[in-house]
């Protein structure tokens, strides 16, 4: 795999001779090994979907949510270490709240992404802190329209049309690139991403999974909410059918 740090990877405040900070790269591995998270920007909103790997049969369905609302108009899907992710979400909620109290308007998504990225980056600067072992896909709808951002453990944040992190990200990205997102509504997007997640889920290696989906779009009145039950079921059915058709070939 990648080169071993051998001495340069003991602390996040140490550079290697070839200019890498290994601790940050190791933190990114934690994200790479988690369940896939996909986000897409359709013409009327954002859809975030998570392949939530179920650790134990005794867990209640719907527990251990990995998509969280940050504010009325935005939400975050978390990959990697769940507890680290919870901290990032808490910070994002706090930033959004403070911004609105000070400036009297909901925080612009770009500003929210900048603040979350700054916070994640902060934790890569001191030897007495460790980097977050989680990445987030942040989607929101403000007065500049729907926007999708991804924040990695290094603190880097970019704006995307479609983003994927976690185990199945390579395959997921290939599938996303095939979609014509600018012509798609969220309603259609929900079906498409469900198919993608079912497609990238590795039955052999991984346990069963639960599909968690949320959206923020014109249809949801620009509020971030769970995809309605009926549509979720429809998406799951479509995804299972698509999978069977593929297997049948």
């Amino acid at each position: 795999m990648s080169s071993i740090g051998t001495g340069y990877d003991l602390s996040v405040t140490t550079f290697s001779p070839d200019g890498r900070v290994f601790q940050i790269e190791y933190a990114a591995k934690a994200v790479d090994n988690s369940g896939t998270v996909v986000g897409i920007k359709c013409k009327d909103g954002i859809v975030i979907v998570i392949e939530k790997l179920i650790a134990s049969k005794m867990m209640l369905p719907g527990s251990n949510r990995r998509i969280h609302s940050v504010h009325r108009h935005s939400g975050m899907g978390v990959a990697g270490l769940a507890a680290d992710g919870r901290q990032i979400v808490a910070r994002a909620k706090s930033e959004a709240h403070n911004y609105e109290n000070t400036y009297g308007e909901p925080i612009p998504i770009k500003e929210l992404a900048d603040r979350v990225a700054s916070y994640v980056h902060l934790c890569t600067l001191y030897w007495w802190l460790r980097p977050f072992g989680s990445g987030v896909i942040l989607g929101g709808y403000d007065r500049d329209g729907p926007q999708l951002y991804m924040v990695e453990p290094s603190g880097v944040s970019y704006r995307y049309f479609g983003a994927a992190i976690g185990k199945g990200r390579q395959a997921a990205k290939t599938e996303i690139e095939k979609l014509k997102l600018s012509e798609m509504t969220c309603r259609q997007g929900v079906i498409e991403v469900a198919k993608i997640i079912y497609g990238v889920h590795d039955e052999a290696k991984d346990k069963t999974f639960e599909l968690e989906m949320s959206w923020v779009c014109d249809e949801s009145n620009r509020q971030h909410q769970k995809v309605p039950e009926a549509l979720l079921e429809e998406a799951k059915e479509a995804a299972k059918t698509a999978l069977e058709e593929m297997d049948a070939d």
Binding site: T102, Y103, G104, E105, K110, E111, R143
Partner: protein, 232 residues
């Protein structure tokens, strides 16, 4: 006498009127300390950003310091966001200062400007620190004299000329009656493209009931025909 040592106050008349998606702000120019006009030519419409201006009334010092702070915070905000500030954000920052310091400040403010999301907007922030988005706003001691006038004369969808004439007329009405308002009328028009400042010196303003025409020189009175002698 209370004059020389009184705190500077801008008794004032200030107005903000949106029209056709843009905004016009108007004010008089008198700053008084007690009965003395400390500045007869003040500019009470101050700039916060390229697209947002503020009409100040009440204590001159208080309104100036508030506008200075808000200008500073707004610029920081704009640098962070990377785009012009919105009128709503400017108004909220003013409101936060006015409300938190309500025990010490005595200033009524009108925020007016143009941004690409909402167009031209006016916000009134009176004493105490409420924030009210209004179709038009009037403030200052002189405004009491034209509440009824504005209720009657203001209408939705005015043109730029109609709005400006209304503002100038109202300020001149207040100047006629309010001792703490006087001098010239200044207006600022803000739209999507630019900002225009206009200046109406006292002698261009209409005269109202029983107001005397201004005299340029006492010599004019002497050289005109003497009045009829009174005959008992």
């Amino acid at each position: 006498m209370n004059d020389i040592n009184s705190p500077h106050s801008m008794g004032t008349t200030i107005i903000g009127v949106p029209y056709a998606g843009d905004v016009i702000l108007g004010a008089d120019s008198r700053t008084s300390t007690g009965l003395y006009a400390a500045n007869r030519d003040s500019d009470k419409i101050t700039q916060l950003t390229d697209n947002v201006y503020l009409c100040r009334s009440g204590s001159a010092a208080d309104s100036q310091i508030v506008s200075d702070y808000v200008r500073h915070f707004l610029h920081q905000h704009m640098m962070q966001l990377g785009q012009p500030a919105t009128v709503k954000v400017a108004a909220n920052l003013i409101r936060l200062l006015s409300y938190s310091n309500k025990n010490m400040l005595q200033t009524g403010l009108i925020v007016g400007g143009w941004d690409k999301y909402e167009g031209g907007k006016i916000y009134g922030i009176p004493l105490g620190g409420t924030i009210v988005e209004q179709p038009f706003a009037i403030g200052g001691s002189g405004s009491t004299y034209f509440y009824g006038f504005f209720d009657q004369e203001w209408k939705d969808g005015m043109t730029k000329d109609e709005a400006e004439k209304l503002v100038v007329k109202a300020v001149s009405l207040a100047i006629a009656r309010d001792g703490a308002s006087g001098g010239v009328v200044r207006t600022v028009i803000i739209n999507s493209e630019d900002v225009t400042r206009n200046f109406y010196p006292g002698d261009t303003l209409p005269l109202w009931h029983e107001e005397l025409a201004p005299q340029n020189s006492l010599l004019d009175i002497l050289s005109s025909a003497s009045p009829e002698p009174m005959v008992s």
